[in-house]
């Protein structure tokens, strides 16, 4: 049974019936799903969640579908890892890594939103799905729609990493590479979406799709033993994930699943594309769009649709923001790999690097609980680190050659 009452404009509060629309006809504000929390409170409990499937669908009551979920049945419930090595390296007491680099099936948190988007698109009766993507969303839409037997059109900036292109093409989509930035891809897609009646997951399905990100936040709280951490560092591009993690924690509080939310939320961006972090640090109310220039291509959104809400989330929670240069991003990726054995993509490097900076700046207390959001897998962005990780040491197939290596070449870790 659905707990969705309808949709509501985040700006002017006008209400709309449940439908594949995403923007208020009157003020252009973003629409959001409107739930009946009273009914949810009656039917959902911690116990019910704990007995649910080991996937995002254990939180089904808090997701905007009417029937049973049809997609992403193995998506979510990724590990929350208690860090020892990285905690020691950063000099902090209690550190966790929420690791969506192992998300099923396409190794990024985008599987969560696509699982919800496709379940919903089918309820609306669409037979074609589409998206504008910096790569991870493309991979996830391709994989899920292949399984679901839906037609697929995927739009990406032409300069994406090879790993992300291959991990889309393998599912035989219509893959359209556009000569331009993600913001240009997005603008074009908005125009295509008003012409072709497809389920554009990040456009006309956006209010439903974006709700999938809440499961990342729910899992953090549940896996911490039904408690909200004191600090969460989140990568920011369009600004959706960070707002939804905050929403998730507050929903859990409203439902009595966590006793308090004293979480400070921090935004992490790349230095070459930091419209949200810049606004936070300059205490500005205006998110000034930028032309991105960074190796963190999955975060290269210069005109973030939810940037304002991301900034509000940070302010409301008492958090802050930090950005990382390209070399700090690479160092962040390497640091996480060396200390925790997790190979994350560039966005993860941004988050690790930003965490380090926020600690150094004294913005995050070393004695508090900290969760770092790792949202994607490093195998997809190998170009970013390839020149910074050494080379294999080539030898002849002889014992002598190997002994020679031990004498001079061995890595001391």
């Amino acid at each position: 049974m659905s707990h969705v009452k309808g949709m509501r404009c985040k700006e002017c509060g006008r209400e709309y019936p449940k439908s594949p629309i995403y923007v208020c006809e009157y003020c252009f504000g973003a629409l959001e799903v409107n739930y009946n929390y009273e009914a949810i409170g009656k039917s959902l409990s911690r116990k019910k969640i704990e007995n649910g499937p080991k996937s995002i669908w254990r939180y089904k009551e808090l997701l905007p579908i009417d029937g049973e979920p049809t997609d992403g049945l193995n998506t979510g419930f990724t590990p929350l890892i208690k860090s020892r090595n990285l905690a020691k390296e950063l000099g902090v007491k209690e550190l966790y890594i929420k690791d969506d680099s192992v998300s099923h099936p396409t190794l990024s948190f985008k599987d969560r939103v696509v699982a919800v988007a496709l379940s919903k698109a089918k309820e609306f009766g669409f037979d074609t799905v589409a998206c504008a993507s910096t790569g991870n969303l493309a991979n996830s839409v391709c994989a899920h729609s292949a399984l679901a037997g839906l037609k697929r059109f995927v739009f990406i900036p032409a300069d994406l990493e090879m790993g992300k292109i291959v991990a889309s093409l393998i599912y035989e989509p219509n893959l359209i590479a556009i000569e331009g930035t993600y913001d240009e891809v997005n603008r074009l897609c908005a125009e295509i979406a008003s012409k072709h009646k497809w389920a554009f997951v990040n456009i006309n399905i956006r209010p439903f799709y974006a709700e999938g990100s809440k499961t990342y936040g729910y899992e953090i709280a549940e896996q911490l033993g039904w408690r909200a951490p004191q600090n969460i560092i989140v990568p920011v591009a369009g600004g959706s994930l960070i707002s939804k993690i905050w929403k998730a924690l507050n929903e859990f509080h409203k439902l009595g699943f966590v006793s308090e939310v004293k979480t400070k939320i921090y935004a992490a961006q790349a230095e070459g594309c930091s419209p949200v972090v810049t606004a936070i640090r300059e205490k500005s109310d205006i998110i000034r769009p930028v032309k991105p220039k960074t190796i963190a291509k999955s975060l290269a959104i210069g005109n973030p649709a939810d940037g304002y809400y991301a900034m509000q989330t940070v302010r409301e929670s008492g958090g802050y923001g930090a950005y990382a240069s390209d070399s700090e991003i690479v160092d962040g990726i390497k640091l996480l790999a060396r200390t925790e054995g997790i190979f994350t993509e560039t966005a993860g490097g941004v988050t690790v690097a930003a965490t380090k900076k926020l600690l150094e700046e004294g913005r995050i207390s070393r004695n508090e609980s900290i969760v770092i959001c790792i949202t994607g897998n490093g195998l997809k962005t190998q170009e970013a680190v390839y020149d910074h990780i050494g080379k294999p040491y080539k030898i002849k197939p002889s014992l002598e050659a190997f002994e020679e290596y031990l004498k001079k070449g061995v890595v001391q870790r």
């Binding site: 923007v23 006809e25 252009f28 956006r206 799709y209 591009a237 959706s240 005109n303 939810d306």
Partner: protein, 92 residues
Amino acid sequence: MSARVRIPTPLQKVTGNQAEVDCEGSNVRELITNLDNKYKGIKDRICDENGKVRRFVNIYINEEDIRFLKGEDTGIKDGDEVSIIPAIAGGY
């Protein structure tokens, strides 16, 4: 100066279901005023109570965001293409 303006779906009710309309104006501000003269109510949708373009509305001239040009003072030439597009989510 006459430009071709692409109208997003949520605004097409105001333009009588037209997805593209032609409109005069020497700059963006004037164009919006003229659009409103032809299609009553369009300005209230695009602009806030102070007459400024709402922060979640993007306007492009020949594919370039006017915030990278001169904002609402950006000039319009004959034959320019103007797109009005609501903010779109994506990425993280």
